[in-house]
């Protein structure tokens, strides 16, 4: 388990990472912009560091060069002995672990915010590890309250018993922003602007926390994965059908048993044969075709988030 208790000191070491996938353009362009002009990442009690996470994939405008960087942060990848044949992203993950981690150590960054886009119609999705991440849960709640018109949904991505593998897990606390729909390789002004505003609000929240603001307990609703569904395929492994028009673009909406999920080449409908209502997300995400995922099935659940202990207000750093 990598999560540490709720922070008892102000968060000083904060990073915002873009271009973890080199073709998810909001984060790529934001990271590039901040590397030239970091002023908007500064607050009274800390300054966030911008990082272009996957430079080689960004230069090629691809998701990755050898291996998905956002799956490379397991202890197995991070701690095994480096060899000259290591995939580019494994080497890069180790570098990022040195810069922002080491994962699960006392020297790790206090907070990492990782920026992503999806081709799925997920709107503004906040991705955290689990409901036990108290700081991240309060942060999500803050974003939801600041932007009710965005209907920010919270997706808790960690499967139970599984080790975290994503970039923001190297820090003591982390969150990913997943904004869509946006095609790979495309920079949309509306999504770019929304991402930028959300980052500013995340940093404002950290500042509020550092200044001793109280955050009382509350009830949170979130989605966690219970399964995945692949596309129907031919014997050769090719697509035999695609996401049904009645499911396409309906991320976070209930899917009932018996509802159509795929449409075959012949026009025939395939129906969902699960036993209970699920909430599909990442419906028709381009990058997930190769992972055998047409959509992720989630369940919706509610839980109590305890109050965060109030800090003594932080003095501004001397520099």
């Amino acid at each position: 388990m990598c999560s540490l208790p709720v922070p008892r000191e102000p968060l000083r070491r904060v990073a915002v990472t873009g271009g973890t996938h080199g073709n998810e353009m909001s984060g790529v362009y934001l990271a590039r912009h901040w590397l030239q002009a970091p002023a908007e990442l500064q607050r009274l009690s800390f300054s966030a560091v911008p990082v272009l996470a996957n430079p080689a994939a960004t230069a090629a405008c691809r998701r990755y060069v050898d291996h998905d960087l956002n799956r490379a942060f397991t202890s197995s990848f991070l701690n095994s002995r480096p060899t000259p044949d290591d995939p580019y992203e494994v080497t890069r993950a180790r570098e990022l672990n040195q810069l922002l981690g080491p994962k699960a150590s006392g020297r790790a960054f206090d907070f990492v915010l990782d920026l992503h886009n999806t081709t799925a119609n997920m709107g503004t999705c906040l991705i955290a590890k689990s409901s036990h991440e108290v700081f991240a849960m309060h942060l999500c709640r803050h974003l939801q309250l600041q932007y009710p018109e965005l209907s920010c949904q919270v997706f808790l991505c960690q499967w139970s018993g599984e080790e975290s593998y994503n970039l923001d897990s190297v820090a003591k606390n982390g969150l990913a922003l997943e904004l869509g729909p946006q095609p790979q390789g495309v920079l949309r002004a509306d999504i770019f602007s929304r991402m930028r505003t959300l980052v500013a609000t995340v940093l404002d929240f950290i500042e509020l926390f550092n200044q001793g603001t109280a955050f009382p307990a509350f009830e949170m609703e979130a989605y966690r994965p219970v399964g995945v569904m692949d596309f129907p395929r031919t014997d050769a492994g090719n697509l035999a059908g695609t996401v049904h028009p009645q499911l396409q673009d309906r991320d976070f909406q209930p899917l009932q048993p018996g509802a159509p999920i795929f449409q075959m080449f012949s026009g025939e409908d395939l129906l969902y044969d699960g036993e209970s209502t699920v909430y599909p997300v990442f419906i028709n995400e381009a990058a997930y075709y190769e992972k055998g995922i047409a959509f992720v099935q989630t369940e919706k659940f509610t839980f109590t988030v305890p109050a965060m202990p109030v800090l003594n207000p932080a003095p501004s750093p001397a520099s």
């Binding site: 912009h33 946006q182 095609p183 390789g185 920079l187 509306d190 996401v243 449409q263 028709n284 075709y289």
Partner: protein, 313 residues
């Protein structure tokens, strides 16, 4: 050269290309399935051959391996001496040329449909390369009428310097079929349905023509390319401004001088200059960032076609 010189003879050989860009999935999907079961694309008396043009790019789900296959069907590339050192797509272009061309040869294909997707909000689009091709203008008129009320736009890429050497240009009658918006690497059911309908109407038209039906003179509205507009860039060549939210997704809609065009990363609006209204297309196409094209300006005009009738019955 006036109209397509085979306009009065029946159409014999038609090809449908998919996967010219390996990550534009609608064409890939349709062609792969038609190769297994081609019943839907058969018409009496007509040979219709589905074909995957860039199989290596399709396998990797990428636009191309070495270079863009849809830009290299010019005489220079087609004439290069075959060798392993040539880019993959150049070698492939030569293979395709031998299978489906040469343009005016006896065994060459009469019509080639090349299936594409775009990330731009262009809906159903037919791409025309020659404004004097009566046969194709009649076909496009038929497709547009059959699809209505679903809009279908015609993009004319005839231009002394901007026209490009497409894969389909090796046929006597090349037809580009472009449907969007669809992200690269994604297959959407609604886009698939639209492309399938376009092909159906196109093949029906050819069949009616071959059966001797007369198509009276007609006119269609087309959008003719004027120029391509790049993103504003900084001194390092990086993009410094994005397509303005007011222009995003507004393909085919009039853009007037003074209307917002780009939005800088600092939040400044850059308007369209000049004194002409234009009709933008390929607004924010992912694959065109590297070609330095944020959108293309077009002008709207009417193209007329004479009546056509197949003389052989």
């Amino acid at each position: 050269m006036t109209s397509c010189h085979i306009a009065e003879e029946p159409i014999k050989k038609v090809a449908i290309f998919g996967g010219t860009h390996g990550n534009e999935l609608t064409g890939v999907f349709l062609v792969k399935h038609w190769l297994e079961n081609g019943a839907e694309i058969q018409r009496t008396g007509l040979e219709v051959k589905p074909f995957i043009t860039n199989p290596r790019a399709v396998k990797k789900c990428t636009r191309y391996i070495d270079c863009d296959l849809n830009r290299i069907f010019d005489l220079e590339n087609l004439g290069k001496k075959m060798s392993e050192d040539l880019p993959y797509e150049v070698r492939r272009a030569q293979e395709i040329y031998h299978l489906f061309g040469p343009k005016d040869g006896e065994d060459s294909y009469d019509i080639i449909f090349d299936l594409h997707n775009t990330t731009s909000n262009m809906g159903c689009t037919l791409i025309l390369e020659d404004s004097r091709n009566n046969f194709l203008i009649q076909m496009f008129h038929y497709i547009k009428t059959s699809l209505a009320p679903l809009p279908c736009y015609v993009y004319l890429i005839e231009h002394p310097s901007l026209k490009y050497a497409t894969t389909r240009s090796i046929a006597k009658c090349p037809v580009g079929i472009e449907v969007g918006p669809q992200p690269q690497g994604v297959l959407r059911a609604d886009i698939l349905d639209q492309m399938r309908k376009m092909i159906k109407h196109a093949l029906d038209f050819i069949h009616h023509f071959n059966e001797g039906k007369e198509f009276p003179p007609c006119a269609i509205e087309v959008y003719k390319i004027i120029e391509k507009v790049d993103y504003p860039r900084d001194e390092n060549g990086e993009i410094a401004a994005v397509i303005h939210p007011n222009l995003q997704d507004q393909d085919w809609k009039p853009l007037h001088p003074g209307d917002p065009m780009f939005l800088t990363l600092d939040g400044k609006t850059m308007p369209l200059g000049g004194d002409c209204t234009v009709y933008p297309v390929f607004v924010n196409e992912a694959a065109y960032y590297e070609k330095k094209e944020a959108f293309a300006k077009t002008t709207k005009l009417m193209l007329n076609a004479k009546s056509i009738r197949c003389s052989v019955h």
